[in-house]
Symmetry: C2
């Protein structure tokens, strides 16, 4: 598993070079130029250096040039830590998600990262590992180190979120709506997506459905399941506990066969892909014997065999939009209304007419 080494570990820094104040404080860059040194070198006050570095127009051109030259010569860059303190802002926004392995949150991460990056903001990321209380703690912690927060918190109780809502502001909630919470939320109309899927399946003649349920605590799973129950009035629906990962879906295949369902509605694309593989291994034809649908339209959904019928949700768009909302909030503009995105049904090869039997 492990292998070769190569040297490395060079001189270390010149640490005690100066001698007298060797190792004076902790891990400071040691040689880093400060505003004071630049001021001294340019023969001006610190205030003037600050003004020049921030492009204030109230500095005469020749002085500004002298300061810039000195800054250049000393390779000076203002300390972000000092600016944070003085300005009271961090130039950073934070994202807290339950699971970085989930394509849903990866999409938000990407969209947010790009939007924030374009605006010159840094991005702090924290993963709560799907623990409800951890979500809350990390959110508070992350928020203290940033100017605003994007929070994906499918597990934390609504009351808990409301109780700390004030301390999290400005923030945006994604993939969830919490009534009464003083923050805009960007969510998916899960019910509409499920209705589209069910309509598609019943249109194909399916009457016996199986639902592969997501994680019990998940708000998204609760919504999808409720919508499914509502949309399948006269039909037979079996709910099978499953999960959210490939292997969960894979493991559920025998149960699906046993129940004799003609169509399987997966909590998400991953369990749907898993069950796809599992069914094939059991010799069940998809979509000839059983139809399968997913949810989310993860990048891989079009490359399964057969390609997965699913509903598409705008993951990166959520990230981009979260940035826009957050930006508005940080500037004191309202922008506090909720958006619920409509998923789009994508019919691919994994669904077909119900077997006549």
């Amino acid at each position: 598993m492990r292998a070769s080494t190569e040297n490395g570990d060079q001189e270390r820094d010149r640490d005690g070079g100066g001698g007298p104040r060797a190792g004076r404080r902790g891990p400071r860059p040691a040689g880093a130029a400060t505003i004071s040194r630049v001021a001294e070198a340019a023969g001006v006050s610190r205030a003037t250096v600050s003004r020049v570095m921030n492009g204030s127009p109230t500095v005469s051109p020749e002085l500004a040039a002298r300061v810039r030259a000195a800054a250049e010569a000393l390779d000076y860059a203002p300390s972000p830590a000092a600016r944070r303190l003085a300005l009271g802002r961090t130039g950073t926004i934070a994202l807290v998600v339950p699971d970085l392995g989930n394509p849903l949150f990866q999409g938000v991460l990407r969209g947010l990262s790009q939007a924030a990056g374009k605006a010159g903001r840094q991005l702090l990321v924290a993963e709560s590992d799907e623990d409800p209380e951890e979500e809350v703690i990390l959110a508070l912690e992350a928020r203290r180190n940033s100017d605003g927060l994007v929070l994906a918190s499918p597990r934390a109780p609504a009351e808990r979120l409301c109780s700390i809502g004030e301390r999290l502001a400005p923030f945006v909630l994604v993939y969830r709506e919490v009534p009464g919470l003083g923050a805009p939320s960007l969510s998916i109309d899960n019910a509409a997506g499920v209705r589209d899927l069910v309509a598609h399946l019943t249109g194909l003649g399916h009457r016996r459905l199986a639902y592969l349920a997501g994680p019990p605590g998940s708000a998204g799973n609760a919504e999808r399941l409720a919508a499914l129950r509502a949309a399948t009035g006269g039909l037979e629906v079996t709910v099978l506990p499953c999960g959210s990962m490939f292997d969960d879906g894979h493991a559920a295949a025998p149960a699906v066969v046993e129940r004799g369902a003609s169509a399987v509605v997966g909590f998400n694309d991953m369990v749907a892909s898993g069950v796809l593989t599992g069914l094939r291994e059991l010799g069940v034809g998809v979509p000839d014997d059983v139809s399968v649908t997913g949810f989310d339209d993860i990048p891989f959904a079009r490359y399964t065999t057969p390609p997965l019928t699913t509903v598409s949700i705008p993951k990166s768009e959520l990230g981009r939009q979260a940035w826009e909302r957050l930006w508005a909030l940080m500037n004191g503009e309202g922008g506090g209304y909720n958006v619920r995105y409509q998923p789009r049904l994508l019919v691919r090869g994994s669904t077909g007419p119900a077997p006549s039997r």
Copy 2:
């Protein structure tokens, strides 16, 4: 000289309570308690509050209790910005990657996020969008806002990295080795992986190979291609320009058929999956007519049809290990040697005996 009459200026901030200077500065929490207010409330000095908050043992128990009560009552939490400045460290580490959509970097992100989170460190993430110079700029920027850096920089020229190496320290390079760079690197033995694949394929009788090349600037692609050339002495190898995404591989399928290769070596699992789908659409049987291999073992690789033969690399382990190395470096321990991980061949269903022809 400083004036600071210590309690003389305490008066100052109580006038904010009224209306006169409402909205005085930018986005400060406004009501947030400071160490001074806690000190006042507890009737002690700021130094004592600081000592209590940091668990210094040189405070008498009753005083400590009084301070803690005051802090609790005021809902006080030390300002991270002020601590950063005073301590000269940020409590944060940074990760810079070219593309957050790539499972390779997602794996590192997860491993690093979990390891750093467990150690109570925050994680800053930046995406360079595969631009060589952007990689460098973002790395410098991210490093200035953190105590250490994990850098995945497949595009930036080696000399450029060396020239800024000192300013990035402490840092760890992943998925790449740059001789002479003063930082440990964690990389994959691409050559060994390619050799394993080639041995596997030739063992099955394949003599005409096609390589689906990755992005031209990528260091990983260069290594894999060089290793392929070295490992396929007497064989016929066609190199097809491709890319790194599903669609790139999908689009390359016709060219593969045209060249009459009996085995396709994909730059990574995504192009391999893409070509898998493309070949099936063209009516080419895998592995009966053509064998296909990938690289990286992304989570999806075992769920393609047929499951993808590939080599596995320890993505999350790289992230965890990067944290360990970084931690050692930040504590002044050496730990600066390089590690090159050996990939592991995973034979699945996408490879089989060469057609007899």
